[in-house]
Symmetry: C2
Subunit: 311 residues, 2 copies
């Protein structure tokens, strides 16, 4: 068996961060004494961190079985340190996790883990680590489903709360789900009402949230337009579900502060034009990645949008 | 040594999720054959998931050294399954990580990991897992620092981009940092300009972001008011930094689509009132957690805010 395919196979690749692209070419190079490394170059494009890391970081993928012994990693870290590397990224499949504790004893700690792999980092540079962090926020979305024809708004009372306050149906975004899609999905799941996204009317940011595993929470309230009206609410989640007059919701004490505030915003929008309260949405292509994104802001009048004839 | 203090110590606690509180009382109970478990009860309060999990989940903390053998966990899982538990949460300190691979071979996978511990989950219920996910978004913030007196806006060109497009200074939020604070900090770090938060003018949501380790990205643009004007920009990050006339930024091609769009929004706000484009902020206390949150929405006129005399 050639040495490259032995049990001590690692792959070391330069760090992937924001906006990077994998190049087709790759080369083998030594990473530390006694250590067989397959170096694959990544080209940084986007962020300040990329540029730094493309030349100063090392990223290792533990692929083979058995994984390299801790002494190999220790020797490799010494080598990288002497080369002036500033950080090491270590990607470990879950079934190779016995390699984590020895790495931790060298100073590695978890950057993140998901599903069947974990990523550890070791900062070798000066001062505190400047490595980019992992996702910091969960996103929750509520749907304020308002029927302009009847001035009624859809509200629920959670089954599990001590105080049964009226609030908007909603829940956490699934990975990769757009805000508006979460609102429509959660409204349907909780109440049976079909609706479509109109606008984003409020955002709340809250930190060290116990329900977010200590991370931060971004809670977005969307204005939705109903296109079905017969309530068929989820008995597991909701105690009650009603179409309530918007003025009543704006003045009742039996609701949360944020629901009350948004009810008043909606009343203002209903009476004086929803353009007064709405961030509307547009889908646009990203410059570098080829992905699309959703952009929310106040509706821009056509003359400002095109700037034609504007001085 | 009493058995409770032996090397096979586990603590099993019911799951912690959104809004839960630890109760003072706790009790010991068996978790699986041969397994010594110290059960601590947590009371669920807030979410639909809490209620489900408070009675149907088991959460284990691997505390002792050596950690329990895989056969103990296997037996415990069988026991929990027979009891009708729907999920197991396994919290493992990084130095006990050799316990991860055997758990994975029983079907556990990573829920998340950070710093010096990881959390694995095993879904025992019917159908696909209904366990809540971990943080899904990173939050980036840009500061559009606009001086109304001169109609100038602060723009930079990144040092690391191929095309040197004018854009607003900004960067990723630190854990626990408010959006507005990120904007002010990043503007100061990149440009040397001191400023204060005025409003939130645009939000972009983008998924499967390579720079976010495959997670989603929420990018918020804030309007800031400068209170210093002498540029002293970071040479590492920026190639250029200028105070540019807002109309020029709104019409130049040498900028990103989102910067151009926001420049036009700001021009609209400058000419017709910033209340047309702003989501302003307010800090409010959370009902359940005792934490404070920041709430952003269109400024609400006083009569709608108080509802006094409103019918």
């Amino acid at each position: 068996m050639p040495p490259f395919l032995s049990g001590r196979l690692w792959r070391a690749v330069f760090m992937r961060t924001r906006g990077e692209r994998l190049l087709a070419g790759h080369s083998r190079a030594s990473g530390g004494p006694g250590c067989r490394l397959n170096l694959r170059m990544l080209k940084g494009t986007a962020s300040k961190w990329n540029q730094l890391c493309a030349t100063h970081c090392v990223s290792c993928y533990i692929l083979g079985f058995p994984a390299p012994s801790p002494s190999y990693l220790q020797a490799a870290v010494q080598q990288w340190r002497s080369e002036g590397r500033i950080a090491v990224w270590l990607h470990i499949p879950i079934l190779q996790s016995r390699f984590i504790a020895p790495a931790a004893s060298l100073g590695f700690c978890f950057h993140h883990a998901e599903s069947d792999s974990s990523t550890l980092t070791l900062w070798l540079g000066e001062g505190p680590s400047r490595l980019p962090g992992y996702a910091t926020h969960q996103v929750g979305v509520a749907g304020a489903v308002f029927d302009e024809n009847t001035r009624k708004i859809l509200v629920v009372q959670d089954r599990n709360k001590m105080k049964n306050m009226w609030k908007f149906p909603g829940g956490l975004s699934e990975p990769g789900e757009d805000i508006g899609d979460t609102a429509v999905r959660e409204v349907f799941e909780e109440t049976g009402i079909k609706s479509e996204f109109r606008s984003l009317v409020s955002i709340r940011q809250q930190h060290t949230n116990p329900g977010a595993f200590g991370k931060s929470d971004m809670y977005v309230i969307c204005r939705l337009k109903p296109y079905s009206f017969t309530i068929n609410f989820c008995q597991h989640e909701c105690l009650r579900c009603e179409w309530m007059d918007l003025h009543d919701l704006a003045t009742t004490e039996n609701t949360t502060p944020i629901t009350s505030r948004v009810a008043r915003l909606l009343l203002y929008g209903y009476r004086e034009g929803f353009d007064k309260i709405d961030f509307t949405v547009e889908e646009l292509p990203a410059v570098y990645t080829g992905l699309f994104y959703k952009l929310y802001h106040k509706e821009l009048p056509d003359n400002y949008r095109t700037m034609i004839g504007m001085h």
